[in-house]
Structure formats: structure tokens, C-alpha cells
């Protein structure tokens, strides 16, 4: 099954990176869910959680603030000035 390569980075470090099945993030327009094969997107994040479901089914929650989300060829980057694992 196709999977997403995800990295969550904040200004001074990489918070989390790995393979995932699904990502749910909150953009300024509302929540967005991303599955493998998603079209390229660049979205501004609203303050809130980013939920990542890893390939082994575990769920990782990170608080991201003041950043954006980019998806391109199943590579997902969550970039935020302040980000931390919840």
C-alpha cells in the first residue's frame, strides 16, 4: 500500500518524521485529511493539532502553530514556527 512520508518540523528542530497512513490537520479553512495519492497542496495551518496515523496504526499528535502544510508526491511536510509533540 502506498504510504506518506511525513515530516513535522519547527523552526529549530525536526519534531517527527516517518511513514504514515493518514494525516489530519487543521487549516484556516477547516480540517483536512490527507491520504496517499493526494493532489499537491499548500495550505496555511490554523493553530491546532496535527494528527498522524503511522503505518503500524499508532497515532501521533503534534501541536502546530503558525505554519503551513505541503503535500507533493506523497511527501507531506508540516512546517510550523512552533511545533511540539502533544
Amino acid at each position: 500500500m502506498a504510504e506518506l512520508t511525513v515530516s513535522v518540523v519547527s523552526a529549530d528542530q525536526e519534531v517527527w518524521s516517518g511513514a504514515a497512513r493518514q494525516i489530519i490537520a487543521r487549516t484556516t479553512e477547516g480540517e483536512i485529511g490527507i491520504l496517499p495519492g493526494h493532489e499537491p497542496i499548500l495550505a496555511i495551518l490554523a493553530a491546532g493539532e496535527v494528527r498522524v496515523t503511522t503505518t503500524d496504526g499508532a497515532s501521533i499528535v503534534a501541536n502546530a502553530e503558525d505554519g503551513f502544510l505541503s503535500v507533493e508526491h506523497d511527501i507531506v511536510t508540516v512546517v510550523a514556527r512552533n511545533a511540539a509533540l502533544a
Binding site: 528542530q13 518524521s17 493532489e39 497542496i41 499548500l42 505554519g67 503551513f68
Partner: protein, 300 residues
């Protein structure tokens, strides 16, 4: 003790004390390089991610936005200099000032007005001494930069960039900083931040590959508006971190050669002092022998 000997002893003493200081500074810098390097590396993913996103937008969309379009006429350019707060780091700050001179000469030849933004006390001192005006100065913490400072600088620059040139805004932003290559080599570098020039690490898309059409949320203009300050900040923060790592490396090298020089001086002066002491002894002996000779020949 002879006067000559005393002078040499004093010089040895002073070289030894200096060496203690330079040696300590060398060790401190050496221990801080590793930390500074780590911070440069840790900030890598962020600035890469931001740069990728910006270049993706710039390459794949044809939106009119100040971030992606060249202004027709550039009236004013902002130059940001990253120097250190403290000296004793060899040519660290001097290199920046020299690069700056070349850049400014070029900009002026192109008919652009230049406004300066300075980071680090050394640049500030250079400008005050020459009575040159700087738009804004940030000092303190150049050896341990904080993201908040980068944010502040970024906000100032973006505000100036958005302002039209007729109201004192700038059309171009250049930064001059020392790029950290490794512990022995730091290269002063001039980069044009805005308008976007080349974006490192991203190849131009080949004509054959289908370009992914980016979807923007909420609107392409809004996304670019949000991306612009983030991009500037991350580049500035990266420059500050690189500059800090370079500063430690430059200081370590400068202090190492200072310690070596002190060593050399100590050896030279010790030799000279020994010489002086020996010739003093020789002279005393020959005086005694001469005196004894004179006495014994007078008795006869």
C-alpha cells in the same frame, strides 16, 4: 640583575599571561563550535522545507505576487550585515565589511540607493566610526542567536519590502554573512533574498515531467502572503546560525595562532634572556679575573 635581563624576563612574563588568555578563549570557542554546528544542522529541515515550498510555488504557479515577480525598477536595496558582537575572531567581521563594500559599490553603480541593517556590535561600531547611517541595528547574542531576533529582523524587512519605494520601502533585500563550511573554512557570502533568485537544492523542472498543479488553501495570494515572512525569517535565522558557528570557528583559529605566536615569543625571549645572563656572568668573571691579575701584579 642586569637591566637587559630584567627587560627580557618582563617580556616573557607578559607573553605567558597573554597565552593563558588566548588559550582559554581557544578552548571555549572549540567547545562551542560543536553546539553551534548542531544548531545549524537542526534548523536545516525547517529552512529546507520552507525553501522547497517557496520554490514550488514560484515554479509551478504563475501568480502575480511581489514574492515571485521582479520589480521593473529598483530604487532602493536593503543590505543586511551579519557580524559578531566581539572581536578577537581574526578576519571574521572584516570579511563581511569588505564583501559589503563590493556589493554596495555594485548596487550604487546600478543606480540603487542602499539602506543598511546591521547585526552585531562590530558592524555597528564600523558604521558609527565612519559616521554612516544605518536604518536599524541589532546587537547582543550573535554567538547564540535566538529565533525571536530573526523574527524581528524578518518582520522589519518584510514591512519595508511591502512598502512602496516612494514611501521609503525597499525593492531588494541582500544579506551578507559568513557561511560555515567546516571548522577551518568559512566563506563570506552575499545572497539576494528578495526577489527570489536561485533556490538551493531544487532543480528546475524538466519539460517532459508533468508539473504538479498545486492546490492552495485558502487562496494563492493568501498563501504567498503567509509564506513570504516565514521564508525571510527562516533564511535570516539560518544566516544567523551559520554566522554564529563561523564566529566560533574563526575565533578558535585566531586564538590558536595567537597562542602559537606567544609560544614562539616565549622561546625567543628565553633564549635571549639566557644569552644576557650568560654574558653578564662572563663579564663578571672577566672583571674578577682582571681585578685579581691587577692585584697580584701590583704586589710584585
Amino acid at each position: 640583575m642586569g637591566a637587559q635581563l630584567r627587560v627580557y624576563r618582563q617580556k616573557i612574563k607578559s607573553a605567558q599571561t597573554t597565552k593563558k588568555i588566548t588559550r582559554a578563549m581557544e578552548l571555549i570557542s572549540a567547545s562551542r563550535i560543536a553546539k553551534a554546528k548542531q544548531r545549524v544542522e537542526a534548523s536545516g529541515p525547517y529552512s529546507r522545507a520552507v525553501t522547497r515550498a517557496v520554490s514550488a510555488v514560484a515554479t509551478y504557479s504563475n501568480v502575480d505576487h511581489i514574492l515571485t515577480t521582479e520589480p521593473e525598477k529598483v530604487e532602493r536595496a536593503a543590505v543586511v550585515l551579519f557580524t559578531s558582537d566581539r572581536g578577537l575572531a581574526g578576519a571574521f567581521s572584516t570579511n563581511i565589511v569588505r564583501e559589503q563594500g563590493e556589493l554596495v559599490a555594485r548596487l550604487k553603480a546600478e543606480g540603487k540607493e542602499v539602506v543598511y541593517y546591521l547585526v552585531g556590535r562590530k558592524a555597528a561600531a564600523y558604521f558609527t566610526f565612519r559616521r554612516r547611517e544605518a536604518e536599524q541595528v541589532w546587537t547582543g547574542n550573535t554567538d547564540r542567536p535566538e529565533f525571536a531576533t530573526a523574527q524581528e529582523i524578518g518582520d522589519t524587512l518584510v514591512a519595508k519590502f511591502i512598502q512602496p519605494a516612494s514611501e521609503g520601502g525597499v525593492d531588494e533585500i541582500h544579506i551578507v554573512y559568513n557561511r560555515f563550511v567546516n571548522a577551518v573554512s568559512q566563506v563570506p557570502e552575499v545572497v539576494r533574498l528578495l526577489p527570489l533568485e536561485l533556490v538551493e537544492g531544487v532543480e528546475a523542472p524538466e519539460a517532459s515531467t508533468a508539473m504538479p498543479l498545486y492546490e492552495f488553501e485558502p487562496e494563492v495570494g493568501d498563501v504567498l502572503d503567509a509564506l513570504l515572512p516565514v521564508y525571510i525569517e527562516s533564511r535570516i535565522f539560518n544566516a544567523m546560525l551559520q554566522s554564529a558557528a563561523s564566529e566560533h570557528a574563526a575565533r578558535q583559529r585566531a586564538m590558536k595562532s595567537a597562542s602559537d605566536n606567544a609560544d614562539k615569543l616565549i622561546t625567543t625571549y628565553t633564549r635571549l634572556a639566557n644569552n644576557a645572563r650568560q654574558s653578564e656572568i662572563t663579564q663578571q668573571i672577566s672583571e674578577i679575573v682582571g681585578g685579581a691579575d691587577a692585584l697580584s701584579s701590583a704586589k710584585k
